[in-house]
Amino acid sequence: MMIVLLIIFACTLIYFFLSERVEKHINLLAVQGTLLFIIAFINLIEINLLGLILILLETLIVKAIIIPRFLNRIRRTNNLNRLVENYIPFFYSVLIITAIIIASFFTAYSIRNHFVDVKFLAIALSTILGGIYFTIVHKNIFNHIVGIMIVENGAFLLSLAVGGEFPFLVSMAVLIDILIAVLIIGIFIDKIGSAFGNMSTSSLNKLKD
């Protein structure tokens, strides 16, 4: 079951590069958030109520509902439908993300550490690297926030891989921090859209002397 879920998660990464529609990218983020909840829920050996509430908050509520809704609102306000500006054609990007996933598997299996769950580590690594790649290849700043969210999903999987558990208060602080950062980034994207008339990085080059 877990392997199937992780494979589906890896497939969502490829879908990010197959689609040019912004709405689909947001939906894929919601799918990843839901998958993360199921994966974390199954992975919990001892269910502690506070831990469960936290995971529910972080994955289903924040990653699968609040952030996608917020991003959709920004997308509609700024009339963003299709991405036309990419540094690398999407066909090559699909090949590259596939190579990233394969390379991550080999890397994870070569690490082999008693304290690390290799299957999670493989998907976590590919998600983090895939997210960074997604951010780099897109010229549109809206997709940069999607890229950061993918990397954060990778970080969540990594926490499952290493079994790292933070105290409840600290986890809450981290969760609120991430949520606030995403909301503020969203607000700034909105302001850039209205101030510069577009969201391309090429219009953000006035600061160099």
């Binding site: 970080a155 994207i189 002397d209």
Partner: protein
């Protein structure tokens, strides 16, 4: 409990002025906060090495840097008054500015005293949010661009740092409150897998490099300082850089006790040298004073990282350099505010003939310039000399010679631009009737530059004690 009380009062003060339109309430809140901050520094010193509010500890480094912030905050709040009266006309925005400075300073104190790697991470993220809004305070397109770049790259860096924390938590996390405390991590450092330790170190240093204005994430910081209001720059070029240093230093304390210590030293040396080379080249292209000073901060932080890479032999010099740079750069950025007010522009070609037009201020600027570029008898000359001496004694003669060459280039370029300001031709579009001069404004800078000299040549015994105790904290 002291820090918890400090956080609560600070939050209340920040909230009380956030949308406040009354000028006297804003400045009263700033004064009360300054007093509160000084009280915290004194309390921390009196309770040296004791824990506080579960996740915090009053150690020597925290006390020293928090004390510095207490000193810096006084002129920053004082000059914020001039800034707000000259450039900000919306009364609500004036309160917001003071409120954001309070939030930023509180988050910085939290970084200095935190004994938990996650608390440092969370506090750094709070500084990102506060700085972003401070950069965008004047609400014009260039400010929006700078704020966006700073926010985005900082957020990216913070995610990388979080991944680093996760890697560091392998094996050491046991879900207890202290599991990710620096004290605990230092104690179990030998048990952490070297591969994970190195990966965590690299990710955390990369993530925090934006806060310390060094390679690789430095561009967003330089852009931010080019645009940010001058009182904000006086904080982001000093106390925030120190916050980045604390985050990296505490990590260094963990790795220095393991077999990866030599590797970490090399990484820091490469980062420091790369930063120094990049800034020396970039400095030739600058056309704005604020950008020039931002690169100057990058130079000093590069020197600090190089000194840190030497371990114990360079640490005393690094700490001294951090302290003196903070005071010198605060003065320089506050003076930049006066240059901007006089010429109604921050561009170098828009300035000229400062010595003749505004003699007293020009002499203060020259004093600041000599202090910041470490021209003898500047205090920074002492710390730079100590760093170079440590490099020679540790067998890094080639690196030391390369640094001397690069610092000479930096000094030449900064003096070349400054000569335009001091003795260059007055621009044709200069309107003397619109120039703003306040003869009392340079006083704070004279005090700050004087402090740099005093701390370097007549270091008080208690400061020396704190610095020596920091040196003893690494293996």
């Amino acid at each position: 409990m002291a820090l918890l009380i400090f956080f609560i009062i600070s939050a209340l003060l920040a909230l009380s002025v956030f949308s406040n339109k009354n000028r006297s309430i804003n400045y009263s809140a700033a004064s009360v906060y300054s007093l509160l901050h000084i009280s915290l520094s004194v309390y921390a010193y009196l309770n040296l090495n004791s824990s506080d509010s579960v996740y915090f500890k009053f150690d020597s480094l925290g006390i020293l840097l928090n004390g510095l912030l207490s000193i810096i905050l006084i002129p920053v709040f004082w000059h914020s008054r001039y800034y707000l009266e000259r450039y900000i006309h919306d009364r609500k925005m004036k309160g917001r500015f003071i409120s954001l400075i309070i939030i930023l300073s509180t988050a910085l104190s939290s970084i200095y005293f935190a004994d938990n790697i996650v608390i440092v991470w969370v506090s750094l993220e709070i500084t990102t949010v506060a700085i972003t809004f401070l950069i965008y305070h004047e609400r014009y397109p260039n400010a929006l661009e700078a704020a966006w770049k700073f926010l985005f790259i900082s957020s990216f860096g913070i995610v990388l740092a979080f991944i680093g924390i996760l890697l560091l938590s392998v094996k050491v996390s046991n879900a207890q409150d202290s599991s990710l405390s620096y004290t605990h991590l230092q104690a179990v450092a030998q048990l952490i897998d070297p591969l994970f330790m190195k990966a965590a170190f690299l990710l955390l240093v990369t993530g925090y490099s934006i806060k310390m204005n060094i390679f690789p994430l430095y561009p967003a910081t330089v852009d931010a300082k080019t645009i940010a209001p001058f009182p904000v720059n006086a904080l982001t070029s000093t106390a925030v850089l120190n916050g980045g240093f604390v985050a990296i230093f505490r990590l260094y304390c963990i790795i220095s006790g393991t077999e990866s210590a030599v590797w970490a030293n090399r990484v820091l040396l490469i980062i420091g040298m790369t930063s120094l080379v990049i800034m020396s080249v970039q400095l030739f292209k600058v056309k704005r004073f604020s950008r020039m000073f931002a690169y100057s901060s990058m130079e000093h932080m590069a020197l600090v990282i190089i000194a840190l890479s030497l371990g114990k032999p360079g640490l005393y010099a690094a700490i001294l350099h951090i302290m003196l740079h903070s005071l010198a750069k605060t003065g320089i950025f506050l003076h930049y505010g006066q240059i901007r007010a006089y010429y109604r522009s921050g561009w170098i070609p828009d300035s000229g003939d400062y010595m003749k037009q505004n003699g007293f201020s020009a002499i203060v600027y020259l004093l600041g310039l000599m202090t910041a570029t470490a021209v003898p008898p500047s205090g920074l000359f002492v710390s730079e000399y100590l760093i170079l001496r440590a490099l020679f004694s540790e067998g890094y003669s080639y690196i030391a010679i390369a640094i001397i060459v690069l610092l000479s280039v930096v000094m030449y370029v900064i003096f070349k631009y400054s000569m335009q300001l001091l003795y260059g031709k007055l621009p044709d579009n200069f309107q003397k009737d619109k120039a703003i001069i306040n003869k009392y404004e340079p006083v704070s800078q004279i005090i700050l530059f004087g402090l740099v000299f005093y701390l370097a040549y007549f270091t008080p015994a208690f400061v020396k004690e704190l610095m020596n105790s920091i040196v003893q904290s690494i293996n």
